[in-house]
């Protein structure tokens, strides 16, 4: 049984941060959970979906983050507890509703979890979502540990319900995508009857009244924060330096202070409630030292707000020296780690610290650099996107008018890299390739003649491309839309979506037909299988040449990983060592040098290609590209 649903109060278990958040919601008696997947947040809803039926929780993958928030809010309006979870980009999508919802207020506890991705380990941008809490006057909690991730989530529901506004919980990659010990609490058995009070409309008007009321709620929230056990001070009575920190940075600070032996000289204020600031708590501890160092990820959120607080309380707190992002003592981009904090403290205290002999460090760094070739990202073996971009590359070359591809967010973003033959020339937000194509598609009147291809995945199509396609049809934008339908939200862990025929909780669902929807717009629509490489190439070429208006080509082939898990290999593929002429072939190693599927390797000893059977997924596409027909595919 999943640990999320385990009814074993007091037991210590190992949970991923995202699972801990999910467990916190379960312990709070959440009833409705909705989200659109996005790393590092996806496992929150993913793990809840697995236990939803057993625990009587409704869990759905929604079409996008704004809709997901609206679904959770509806539960709240009916008096139930609701949760939504998203990555930082998702909050941008959901923010339009959120920044009205703060004014209208909520009923049942409503928690908005945002998982930021400092250093953009699995993101297109780096963004600090905490700005939205300040912008929307919303309570903000930031867990440092896995236990806190669970406990804070539970508390966030209570807080939201008491105050009548949504509560934000901000996690980061090193909490969400990390694992640690969590002591389980009780799962409540109480039942609430959902009901919407029709005598009290939930609206943000009149703003003069609701905005005032929101500020009053936030003042009450600050009172609650003053006594929160999530805010702690550790260190001597009068430290030489006071570190103010939050989130996973707290663990880095603790470790750096310990490794440098600075426990008697450094005090650490760890904040779990970061907006509104708990003023009385801060005042007590800011008095301890004249030098303050801020350690946080990404923006100087605490840094700027605590500085303003110090200015307001100057009479009592006196002059301070602030060290942080603004002073250049901490990096002002990217994620933190123990080494960054160690270096900063070493510099401030002028202490020396050598975790390993410097000769070893130099040697190891040099040897690793010399012998370990870098691994750039590529498509998986058997990925349909490799075949699609191969066809796109050849079709654009045949067309010869310097056409190019506008992309967006998904596995197929890798079309920007050599793995996708560097065909994609722009990518930004979900659906933005299609929006940009609308713009390029109007430039002919100014003498622009390059053909335009927009690509989007199936899940992205539903999320954000549909409005742009409606716009294209209405305004007669001229471009070719490729919908790369691999029947999964693969980038984030294969979550189902409106095209897959099943729901988050595993029930059958009606398939929202991509071709039918596009045809209803009035677009010209065709579909191909990218593994039929020649046919796909010629279809793209023909649609490019055909010109005028919106043309949609659905390029459909299931994600190799999804298929592989279910069925194993499609073909047994091998390289016929007699037929492969290797370096003497005029192809100049087309299969390995250009096509670059990780399942095909070049054997320097024989000077020929061969299949790596540990990697090959048996798609058979390479058999179609070998000019000597040396790659043999046989039905597995």
């Amino acid at each position: 049984m999943s640990l999320i649903a385990k009814d074993a109060p007091g037991q210590q278990v190992l949970l991923m941060g995202n699972e801990a958040i999910a467990r916190g919601a379960v312990e709070a008696g959440v009833k409705v959970c909705a989200a659109y997947p996005g790393n590092p947040s996806s496992e929150i809803i993913g793990s809840l979906a697995q236990v939803g039926e057993d625990l009587g929780i409704y869990v759905e993958w929604s079409v996008n983050e704004k809709v997901a928030l609206e679904i959770s809010a509806a539960a709240s309006f009916a008096g139930l507890r609701g949760l939504t979870a998203m990555k930082q980009n998702g909050l941008n999508v959901a923010s339009d509703f959120l920044l009205n919802l703060n004014l209208s207020g909520t009923k049942g506890g409503l928690v908005v979890v945002v998982c930021d991705d400092p250093s953009a380990l699995s993101s297109s941008n780096e963004e600090d979502s905490r700005a939205y809490a300040k912008l929307g006057d919303l309570p903000l909690l930031e867990p440092s540990t896995f236990q806190e991730a669970k406990d804070m989530t539970k508390w966030a529901f209570e807080l939201s319900e008491e105050l009548g506004i949504p509560c934000m919980l901000r996690s980061v990659t090193r909490v969400s995508h990390a694992r640690g010990n969590v002591k389980l609490g009780e799962i409540p058995k109480d039942v609430r009857e959902p009901h919407f009070d029709t005598t009290h409309p939930i609206i943000p008007l009149p703003v003069a009244w609701t905005h005032r009321s929101l500020h009053d709620k936030l003042a009450k929230c600050r009172e609650r924060f003053e006594t929160s056990s999530f805010n702690i001070y550790q260190g001597p009575e009068k430290p030489e330096l006071l570190v103010v920190t939050c989130g996973s940075s707290w663990l880095y600070v603790r470790e750096a202070v310990h490794n440098l032996g600075l426990e008697d000289r450094v005090g650490v204020v760890k904040l779990g409630t970061t907006w509104p600031l708990p003023g009385d708590f801060l005042r007590r501890h800011l008095k301890r030292a004249a030098r303050i160092l801020f350690v946080e990820e990404v923006d100087p959120f605490l840094e700027e707000n605590v500085k303003a607080f110090c200015a307001e309380n100057g009479d009592e707190l006196g002059m301070k020296t602030f060290l942080g992002k603004a002073s250049g003592d901490m990096p002002d981009i990217g994620e933190m780690n123990p080494d960054i904090v160690t270096e900063t403290l070493k510099r401030i205290f002028r202490v020396s610290y050598e975790p390993r002999p410097s000769e070893y460090a130099q040697n190891a760094t040099q040897i690793a650099l010399q012998h370990a070739p870098m691994r750039q990202l590529g498509f998986c073996a058997g990925c349909p996107h490799r075949a699609t971009y191969w066809a796109v590359k050849n079709a654009l070359a045949m067309d010869g008018r310097d056409g190019f591809v506008l992309g967006d967010i998904g596995c197929y973003t890798l079309g920007i890299a050599p793995a996708g033959f560097s065909q994609v020339k722009t990518f930004h937000a979900m659906g933005s390739g299609t929006g940009l194509a609308n713009g390029f598609g109007q430039l002919e009147r100014f003498g622009f003649h390059q053909p335009i291809i927009a690509v989007c995945g199936d899940s992205t199509f539903y999320h954000a491309a549909v409005p742009a396609l409606i716009n294209a049809q209405y305004n007669r934008a001229d471009f070719l839309m490729l919908i790369l339908d691999n029947s999964a939200t693969s980038m984030t862990g294969f979550q189902p979506h409106p095209g897959t025929g099943r729901t988050a909780m595993g029930q059958e669902a009606p398939v929202v037909d991509i071709e039918g929807l596009c045809r209803a717009l009035g677009a010209h629509v065709e579909a191909v299988d990218p593994f039929q490489v020649t046919e796909t190439t010629h279809t793209i070429y023909r649609l490019l040449q055909k010109g005028k208006g919106l043309r949609v080509l659905v390029v459909r082939r299931e994600c190799a990983l999804v298929r592989g898990k279910r069925e194993g290999k499609l073909f047994q593929v091998r390289v016929d060592q007699q037929r492969c002429i290797g370096i003497d072939c005029g192809c100049n190693r087309l299969c390995t040098r250009v096509f670059k599927c990780p399942g095909l390797v070049w054997d320097p000893e024989t000077g020929k290609a061969r299949v790596d059977e540990a990697i090959c997924t048996g798609c058979g596409v390479c058999a179609e590209i070998c000019p000597s027909s040396a790659i043999i595919k046989e039905v597995a």
């Binding site: 190992l14 694992r179 010990n181 470790e255 012998h371 691994r375 750039q376």
Partner: protein, 207 residues
Amino acid sequence: MLLLEKDPLNVIITGVGGQGNVLASQILGQMLVQKGYVVTIGETYGASQRGGSVMSHLRISHKDQFSPLIPQGLCDLVVGLEPVEALRVLGPYGNPGVLMIVNTRPIHPIDVISGDAQYPDLEQVLKEIRSLSRRLWTVQATDMALEMGDPLFSNIIMLGALSATGILPLEREDLERILGELFPPERIPANLEAYDKGREAVQEYSP
């Protein structure tokens, strides 16, 4: 028995996306939590399915929750699911006392496949790893996994190999219980077999 009593004990499991690195670290972590340890695991898998280097950091302690990232130079044990990935982590995290367990089967990076980079000679890689470590064990985990019918068994084979070194208090019964929580019953016997095979196959490296 080589049980390390350092606190925290820092372990890196490294490999290439798709090798089952994250699952191996999760299983290892759960085995240790069952033994009463406080464990933190940091996982870097933004691009795990797509051929990139993937690393899990495990911090194993009797008393405290440590950060999910190991400080530079402080790794005690590396479980390398791929040889050059094992060597790569020694750059930032190695030290003269580090212990190494390495699966000897290379996975070629795209740049090697395309001819833009060279994959080093395996024997050379193992020699360099040995020169930068206290002890090195090797296992032909992928080859054994392929014999069992699925390359994905290699991560469990590596856990078996790790258990045989005695560096960590790993017990087969703990694994069995955790597999029962993670997998459907029909998949458990083959995974236990993989673990046992890894226990038998691990060898200390001598050049």
